[in-house]
Symmetry: C2
Subunit: 359 residues, 2 copies
């Protein structure tokens, strides 16, 4: 096991009805900017519940943060933060809204001239403006980690940022939000979380027995609940396990003491940039080929995954490992996620060469 | 899954050579009281390493904190804290030293007349004097939680305390400390951590699939590394997995959203009080009988444990569950831990009746 440091101070409030407890987690007298996305929270009741919980606070709003949170949009929110002297940010949304809020948390206190430097240099955020989150879409794990990815379309750039100042003060995880998420996004969320685990697990053995088993636990649970969540998003038991799996998949715990990969995400980001394919779907396109291409380096962990999670038994490590890649692709297909680039675009030839130059 | 709140802000520094990093974790100018137990740290080199790491600080010392940390001893340490105007506590030891330090963290800032009230009322500690730990004996998990158990021999009492102010600021987990721990204490540590998981897992099914699997992951890993750790405590791979399992067994994570038991600990504490049997050994005495006595309530989780962790397969849930209790007792025996009270004392008759009156 490698040496590691681990600290995650985010407070999780998990379960039905937790939104009303926001009021106990925000400092009295705070001037809040509530941030959200395309407005689905106004249809599903979450917006109203949050507003009720914030009745005793002064609240401004900023909606319209898009998927792949856009720098230029966020700069408009930053103006409001400065003009209105906001002291607390509340993200109500999925990974994009939360990531956008993390950028604002950092930019609001940034002393430099141009907040873009936080991403371009990048600058580690030691202290940010305090913020909380109300998670509406389990997937990215951003609700319990200190990282964010921000897009700036005009520069064709998608850059990461992070630092100990970017952990949410609290995150509300109410699994009843799952019931109003479209099937396509549920499938994306499951795929995203599953691939987060793969990127931290599917490397080479390093005698981190507990981290391996924790990773396998998350993947096994996702496989178990995925068909239930897709068939009936109102199934609270399935939704709650799905939600907790997504958070645990990327809150730092399973990556401690082990090597990680993240090549699938790096390549996937470029596919999103080139073709506008949903982030999670790019991961499902890349993962099987990535594991086949790097088979010799990864076959031991592939075989362990196959045996422990997919229940594959065969004669040799190589055979089990190969069958594991097939099972993995089968899992994505079971979610109605296509795994070939040619199924998303006709214009796929030469993509590998283009991305190779970019990375 | 039940609703839950989870927050654990302790920073873990895990691995070889981490002791030297203490200096970066303690506020500059702190006046430190270093607390330890019977002095074994002076033989195994940990004392020297800590003193080197603290070279730039003003440090006082307080040794001699006994197993089952004794209130009257700790009150002497409290005097030093007040007289010397200590600002930071550093526990160097196992669960007893760390628990004792937690009491002092609370008592140092207590505004009431008599610090005993913290235990007797009990009073929840919202803010304590900041403290860190250097763990020398993996077992109790106290290095990453906010609870403590303190003994006051003169009143024949062993009482718990806790609160969000009692999380260590940091804990150093260097698995090389395992090499100097006597076999008896290693067996106790494994048994203690394993039983911590049992108390949070072996209740009834509540559809907390991930928490169940995390618990099973810890137990399976402890079973796997136990013979290696006992045979060769210098086996770093085994020692590091053992150490991380003990911490994860009681840092709050696996108990979130699930019912817990803790009857084995409650009864075990009384056996320690009556006969002076090591804490961990009392748990091994009680656990099998407790599960047999409460078989109907617990058989489903017993069977799940048997199938997933001990690899037991049989016709019926009842059969698997019964074999699981036998396997559990077998695991304790494999550590050379006896599981009958009569093997510890000749004077065991009527014990159940005595304890029944006490609880």
């Amino acid at each position: 096991m490698n040496n590691f440091e681990f600290k995650n101070p985010t407070k999780i409030l998990f379960g039905k009805g937790q939104i009303e407890n926001i009021k106990n987690e925000i400092p009295k007298g705070a001037h809040i900017l509530m941030l959200y996305g395309g407005g689905s929270i106004k249809q599903n009741g979450i917006y109203d519940n949050v507003k009720i919980a914030l009745a005793d606070f002064k609240v401004e709003e900023f909606g319209g943060i898009p998927a792949n949170p856009e720098y230029d949009v966020l700069m408009n929110a930053l103006k409001i933060i400065k003009e209105k002297k906001i002291t607390f940010l509340l993200a109500v949304g999925g990974g994009s809204v939360i990531d956008g809020t993390k950028f604002l948390s950092s930019a609001a206190l940034y002393k430099g001239e141009d907040p873009w430097e936080i991403l371009s240099k990048p600058i580690r955020t030691e202290v940010g403006m305090p913020f909380g989150t109300v998670l509406t879409l389990p997937a990215t794990g951003s609700e319990m980690n200190s990282g964010a990815v921000i897009t700036r379309a005009s520069l064709k750039q998608k850059l990461g940022m992070g630092g100990p100042g970017l952990f949410p003060q609290f995150s509300i995880l109410d699994p009843t939000v799952v019931q109003s998420i479209p099937k396509r996004q549920l499938a994306n969320g499951i795929t995203d979380a599953f691939t987060h685990v793969l990127e931290q697990y599917l490397t080479y053995p390093i005698d981190a027995a507990l981290q391996d088993r924790f990773s396998e636990s998350i993947m096994q649970t996702l496989i178990e609940v995925a068909p239930k969540v897709i068939a009936n998003p109102s199934d609270y038991k399935a939704a709650s396990n799905f939600m907790w799996c997504c958070t645990m998949a990327l809150n730092g715990l399973i990556q401690k003491g082990v090597p990680t990969d993240w090549a699938i995400h790096a390549i996937g980001h470029e596919l999103t940039a080139l073709y506008g394919i949903d982030h999670a779907r790019t991961l499902a396109i890349i993962a099987p080929s990535h594991y086949m291409k790097n088979f010799e380096d990864k076959k031991e962990k592939l075989a362990q995954l196959g045996q422990r999670v997919f229940g594959i038994h065969s004669e040799t490590t190589d055979e089990i490992a190969k069958k594991t890649i097939v099972a993995l692709e089968g899992f994505f297909h079971s979610l109605d996620i296509k795994t070939k680039l040619s199924e998303y675009t006709e214009d796929y030839k030469g993509t590998a060469e283009i991305i190779e130059k970019l990375l």
